[in-house]
Amino acid sequence: MKLFTTLSIAAIMILAYSSCEKVIDIKLRDADQKYVIEGNITNEPGQCSVSITQTKAFSEDNNFPGVSGATVTVSDNGGTAIPLVETGQGIYTTSIINGAPGHTYTLKILVNGKTFGSVSTLPLPVNLDSIFIEDRILFGDSTKIVNITYKDPAAVGDAYRFLQYRNNVQEKTVFVNNDDFTNGNAVTTQLLVFGNDDDDKKIKAGDSIKVTMQCLDTPVYKYWFSIDAATGESNNATPANPVTNITGGALGYFSAHTTQSKTVRVP
């Protein structure tokens, strides 16, 4: 019901004639630092990487340096644990493991005496059939919106994430879908972006639009679905940390997913 909340706020603003925004000073407490783990393994070769960062105080800058010196391993369907090598500060990768649909991957991390773990299953791929651009009236403005089509498989439990890049710049909005209401159908979904008032950031004729579709397992879907509550801008849900599939008390996720991209030029 994110849509509802966004729309109701728009309606309230219409009603109120005036509503005003102001940047204010708030004293926030600094919590103890927590590890943030982001692990990805995909069905494309050489794409197994894990990054480790930490939380920071609100007042600090938005540069999140990686945490070095961790021992990171990934195993494929319960096989031998393959160590990942630190290739950049806090970034651990391997090309020995390639993700395969239907396989389950196990992540283990030892960092500064703390251990974390996770398990994720790479789903069977669903084809990204097409992407196209459509004009729609959103709050009175004609807006170009990216549409995606795919055919949802007959079995229940498919989940997807879409990443939209405009001229190689990624859109902030997290787009996720599952098949709760669309199981087994040919699906056309729109990547709706709200609150984008900056004309420079809107899609225009001539732009190059790339969409990457990922097929996710359910725990990873839950992570991206629930991250809305941590955006700091949601009226929708009680603020909370997203539901992680990492054990041991870290933030973040470990995602085994398929990946497929398509690019169009905006007519």
Binding site: L15, A16, T55, D180
Partner: protein, 771 residues
């Protein structure tokens, strides 16, 4: 279970048998002007006395003799009637309204709840005069907003019609309109309430010590009674306001005997939207309307029928993208029968409906979601005015609930599958008895018992869910099969001790049980919040509240002081798991967590009731917390509505016959909220790190509103007035939300942004009456 009731009846009968030669005076009190029955009017002689019930009926049993009966009611001229009591007497009497020409508005009678003698405590009432004078947003008189200026009743904030009573949640208030439960009392996303003040006769809020005839919600009962309609003359009145207009028509069907009332209201914000050239505005729909209608018919000296109905709806549409409609409908058919001058009966057949519909138009992918909750309800109550010492009430109530959590209809060729979430059926029964017993001259005791049985009925799938929220077992029930019945006993007790002629002390205990739960994940309320009945896993919510109060009349009854303190504990409270998907078919229990709550506080109210200047000063000091397994590391945390201080000052001043002024100022501690205590990066974006639930506070809220009314014409057949108001007079930017985001110019920085609504909202409305 009926044993205690039988025992009580037996005891009372034996007391009756011991009584000496006595006679009963009984009847109905009305207003002379419009024939409306008077609720809570006082009939007294010396230390003996009673008040009229919800239908204006009273019964007073006294020893043989000669009496002067003093009859009084708020806003009415007090009358003294000599009565020779040597046989049973029927006294139907009409009171004159207090004349407007009087230099001073003098209110002599205390409202029923404030009576020093009555053991009822935790009760708040507003007169229609007060509701009319309090300045409101857009000049829209609003019962729900007005009661939030009283101690212990807290506003859920701007853009939110919900209210919190003594630390309870917004769904823990039983809102009754002519006995019919109203499930969503908000219009226009919460800026207005569903109650058209023109159609309302009486508003009573019970915060504690609820009488046994009320039940089903933990925190409060808001009992709203509609006008019956003028049975003397035809009347047309109405108002033109900035955002809405209303029209009210009433008159006799048979003079003195029966009457009708129709009251309608519609907003026209959308008409203005259409005028705009900007398509971002003129494409949107935004309106509500409501209709109140009532008929009452006197069948004979002993029987009266009432038929009342309410229908209201909201429509919100944004371009060709999205539509949301929601609305309540209620209907009540009541039959009053006076069996004898000591036995009064009321039978009610009640219907309530709430539904909403969301339309999402998404290219070829149109999808509609429909959700509904519908009740059929029967009530029977007997009021037995046994003797001077006992006033007994016995009744039962049976409600059948049908819930449709969501039916999805998709257009042909759509992505979406047609789908209907499982319907839920439940049957709620209650049996109750209570007695108000005048134990001694200055001591009155009220005690009662309510027995409730809530049955969940098939067909349907019910689940077992493990601690991680995974469904472990599904049980399928056939149509009509009983899944589970929760039986609860709710004792109610209250006592008043008059310390002297001007002050009294009261104490009360009440247990309430709630089987319908509004499950909401959001910090603001929305029409699509989900009502869910108890299931095999969702247990009935239970609250126990003890309350102690001190009441004193000051300076010749010009002022009234009330101090009440309370402690309330709540069991089986419900919250969503983090990251729950509110909108799923199947086991909602997989998304829920359970725990307990506690609330305590002290409330002061100083009211000036007489003179040119009237009004009140209210102050509440309170705390309310929750402890839910799986939230906040299982520790106690502040509930969202936890506000330490809450102050309201309301003043109304009658300058002369033409001008009257009003003002209110409110202040409260900011709501408890969750703010981040850190941040991190995920997927290349900055997100915020939360450590404790509701560990921070919104900024303190305060606001001044001003109002003025100018009487234009006041002729025999025509009167009119202009009402002005200024909402948020000193333009305080109160925080509606506080959000956190990356600075647009310098993405390396994060900032907190406060959004405020409504700075200085002036309004003007024109009201008229054709008599």
């Amino acid at each position: 279970m009926s044993k205690p009731i039988l025992l009580a009846v037996f005891l009372l009968s034996s007391i009756a048998a011991l009584a000496q030669q006595k006679f009963t005076i009984a009847g109905t009190l009305k207003s002379k002007k419009n024939g409306e029955t008077l609720i809570g009017a006082s009939v007294r002689t010396g230390s003996a006395g009673t008040v009229t019930n919800d239908y204006g009926f009273f019964s007073l049993t006294l020893p043989e003799g000669t009496y002067n009966l003093l009859i009084s009611s708020v806003g009415m001229q007090t009358q003294t009637i000599p009565v020779v009591l040597n046989k049973n007497v029927t006294l139907n009497f009409s009171l004159e309204e207090t004349s407007k020409d009087l230099e001073e508005v003098v209110i002599t009678a205390a409202p029923k709840g404030r009576s020093l003698k009555s053991p009822q405590m935790g009760i708040e009432q507003l007169s229609t005069r007060e509701i009319k004078n309090i300045p409101m947003l857009f000049g829209e008189r609003d019962v729900l907003k007005a009661i939030q200026l009283l101690p212990g009743i807290k506003s859920a904030g701007e853009g939110n019609a919900g209210f919190f009573v003594r630390g309870g949640a917004a769904d823990q208030n039983l809102i009754l309109l002519d006995e019919a439960p109203v499930y969503n009392a908000s219009h226009l996303l919460g800026f207005f309430s569903t109650f058209n003040s023109d159609a309302i006769k009486d508003v009573t809020v019970y915060k504690a010590g609820m009488p046994a005839q009320y039940g089903g919600r933990l925190s409060s009962v808001l009992d709203i009674k509609m006008n019956d309609g003028n049975n003397q003359d035809y009347n047309v009145s109405g108002g033109l306001g900035l955002i809405s207009s209303k029209l009210n028509i009433e008159g006799p069907l048979q003079k003195d005997k029966s009457s009708f009332l129709i009251s309608a209201r519609r907003t026209y914000a959308d008409v203005f939207l259409k005028l705009s050239k900007d398509p971002s505005i003129n494409n949107n729909a935004l309106y509500f309307y409501d209709l109140n209608a009532k008929l009452n018919y006197q069948l004979g000296a002993k029987d009266r029928l009432y038929l009342s109905g309410y229908f209201g709806a909201d429509k919100l549409g944004v371009g060709d993208l999205f539509g949301l409609k929601w609305g309540n409908g209620t209907g009540t058919l009541r039959w009053n029968h006076i069996f004898s001058n000591k036995l009064f009966s009321n039978t009610s057949l009640i219907f309530s409906n709430y539904n909403y519909q969301i339309d999402i138009r998404n290219g070829a992918n149109d999808v509609t979601l429909f959700s509904q909750i519908r009740d059929g309800n029967i009530k029977q109550e007997l009021q037995w005015y046994l003797n001077q010492k006992h006033n007994v009430r016995i009744g039962f109530n049976s409600i059948y609930h049908t819930m449709r959590p969501g039916d999805i209809t998709a257009s042909q060729g759509s992505n979406f599958n047609n789908q209907a979430f499982q319907r839920r059926y439940s049957w709620e029964n209650a049996l109750y008895a209570s007695d108000v017993w005048k134990v001694a001259d200055r001591v009155t005791l009220s005690y009662g018992l309510r027995l409730t049985a809530f049955s969940i009925i098939g067909p349907g799938d019910f689940y077992n869910v493990n601690a991680a929220g995974t469904v472990t077992d599904t049980m399928r029930y056939r149509s009509g099969q009983f899944v589970k019945t929760y039986v609860n006993l709710e004792p109610r007790a209250a006592a008043s001790f008059e310390l002297n002629d001007i002050s009294s002390l009261k104490v009360s205990y009440v247990r309430n049980v709630q089987n319908l739960h509004l499950i909401s994940n959001s910090t603001t309320s929305s029409p699509t919040d989900k009502w869910t009945a108890s299931t095999n896993l969702i247990k009935p919510e239970i609250s126990d509240q003890v309350s102690l109060g001190y009441y004193r009349n000051l300076l010749d009854n010009k002022y009234e002081l009330t101090v009440e303190t309370y402690y309330k504990s709540m069991q089986n409270q419900i919250d969503y798991r983090d990251g729950a998907n509110v909108f799923v078919n199947g086991a909602i229990e997989a998304q829920l967590l359970y725990g307990k709550g506690r609330a305590y506080g002290i409330e002061w109210l100083l009211k000036r009731k007489a003179g040119k200047l009237t009004g009140w000063l209210s102050y509440t000091l309170a705390k309310t917390e929750r402890k839910i397994d799986g939230i906040n590391n299982n520790g106690w945390y502040n509930a969202r509505q936890d506000r330490t201080h809450d102050i309201a000052i309301v003043a109304m001043y009658q300058l002369n016959k033409k001008w009257s002024f009003s003002a209110n100022w409110i202040f409260y501690t900011g709501d408890a909220v969750s703010f981040p205590s850190g941040k991190y990066s995920s997927g290349g974006e900055v997100y915020f790190y939360y450590t404790e639930r509701n560990g921070y506070r919104m900024p303190n809220y305060h606001r001044l509103d001003l109002g003025a009314t100018l009487q234009l014409k006041n002729k025999k057949h025509w009167s009119s007035e202009l009402a002005f108001s200024l909402y948020n007079a000193y333009g305080r930017e109160n925080a509606y939300t506080i959000q956190f985001r990356q600075n647009e110019d310098d993405p390396a920085k994060t900032e907190a942004v406060r959004t405020a609504l409504f700075k200085y909202i002036p309004s003007i409305s024109y009201n008229f009456k054709f008599k």
